[in-house]
Symmetry: C2
Subunit: 342 residues, 2 copies
Amino acid sequence: MSDFFSVLKSYKKQVDEYIFEVLPRSHSVPEINNLFEMMNDYPQRGGKGLRPSVLLIFCEAFGGSIKRALNTAAALEIFQNWIVIHDDIEDDSALRRGLPALHVKYGVPLALNAGDALAGKMWELLKDNRKILGANLTLDVIEQFLEMYNMTTAGQHIELSWVQNREWDLRTEDYLDMCRRKTSWYTCATPAWVGALIAGAVRSYREPIIDFGLDLGVAFQIQDDTLNLVGDEKTYGKEIGGDLWEGKRTLITIDLMKKADAKERKYLEEIFDQPRTRKKAEDIERVMGLIRKYGCIEGAMRTSVDLATQAREKFTRLDGAIGETQRELILEMINFMIQRKF
Amino acid sequence: MSDFFSVLKSYKKQVDEYIFEVLPRSHSVPEINNLFEMMNDYPQRGGKGLRPSVLLIFCEAFGGSIKRALNTAAALEIFQNWIVIHDDIEDDSALRRGLPALHVKYGVPLALNAGDALAGKMWELLKDNRKILGANLTLDVIEQFLEMYNMTTAGQHIELSWVQNREWDLRTEDYLDMCRRKTSWYTCATPAWVGALIAGAVRSYREPIIDFGLDLGVAFQIQDDTLNLVGDEKTYGKEIGGDLWEGKRTLITIDLMKKADAKERKYLEEIFDQPRTRKKAEDIERVMGLIRKYGCIEGAMRTSVDLATQAREKFTRLDGAIGETQRELILEMINFMIQRKF
């Protein structure tokens, strides 16, 4: 996957340069200056830059120029950054990209508001597309972002509700539906289609691209759920086992609940549904032992591979529209999504 | 002030009808259904509807039709609703419009996310202006909303920082600057100018309208700070004394700190900067006693009246552009801002 990886790095660099040019940097009122620092905090930690790269790759694949799409790609990266500020508060996550989460560093009130401020910057970039794409295409892109936005908040609500309501009566299909909303739309489906849209792709490509993106996004998320348990904290950048501490419902924990015997299940529910502060490291280790015993990680990895295969098949529906080089690159990207270590 | 009051009521009714038509109501996934309920919660509690009314009044004053501006007025009312969901979390407020705040009812994670979801609805309405105002004016309006948005988050950050940093070394001017950002832009300045903009007002009216709105908004906020201490909880809808429990820096508390002797000041700092849960009712009462002793409420009310007078003078710069009926209505509105009981 060397080609995709170098493309990812090069796109990430361009998007970052753009972002740090448009994010506000300093202000004469010291408190506002501090707000600007907070808005720059997560972007400076350097994420993967995966989502804007999907957008740029699809823009190029449909014959568009990176230059025209860069502003929108930056808006998408900013979406990812502000949404995880709020997400980290909602999940009470400890780490983000290897450093303390923003609300851990600055407290919930300021972090919540800084997330809102960063969201404003996203809409500002999208509005500024006017000079690049013209008024009509600008609003078309905003429309796509809004669909993605609505899907993400709905998916997030489902996931948070499960934790809050101590819901474990969940089918695989419930997880997949939640995950498509929470992850796939903003990670793959909308980025890919908006890239194509900016390149001038006709509307009939929308459905196959979205379908492809929805499968691929879930494959990506399952790999994330796996890394969360068995990844390397330095490479992965989040707290290993964080999902267990937060009581997250993932394909792995849902599967574990199904396979566990009655006694184990009772124990697991008790542990998962305790507030984070009352959990103990030895309990988390015991849960990991049960996950290993029932082969839940292997099961999730198989589903991830199956979904990537499905995405690959759906991608062939675009064969006529995409050049050979881009086609190869996107196939590599699919592999990256389920093999990545970060 | 009977005329303005009946106009306010009639506009509020139209905006509410519009909002409840566009807000999503039900969904087959029970969790998403619950999210929709949460998005409808604050709007259903019935606020004053003041901000959309300012927008509609200025639209009519500049010869525009209510029908063309209603969608934007609804977006503004939704702004007010989602921003206070987040604000209530940030301040840990107990009550909103006479009922428990959303995060008190549903917990912080779901409430935070519902605020985000409602914010999405605001942008969706603004995007939908396309069918009503055309693509270019739609983006002009979005641009104004973004300026308002940036001002609001910056003002909010300043206020939260003061509480978090236990900052009491504040001048009246610091408060006025914070308050213009936090309140004036979204309560008066942007609503008034966007109303005029939709009506087709020329750009040269922007500055006088914004100037007028910035003064009036601070006058409005000071009245709010006053009601927070001496209002009637049923009419006002928020917790009386809530600002003291939350340790808010208002014109009243800043003035109190200046006038208090060294011993009182030490005591006040101790009380204000304690977390809410550690404060006692008798301390809050003692603080109220000091506020009365030093006449801080009367002082704040005088500033509010002065600012309203300033706004009234600035408003005369628009005399040539506005018909007599609308002029009278706006003058009544200025009085309402500083005399209101809710």
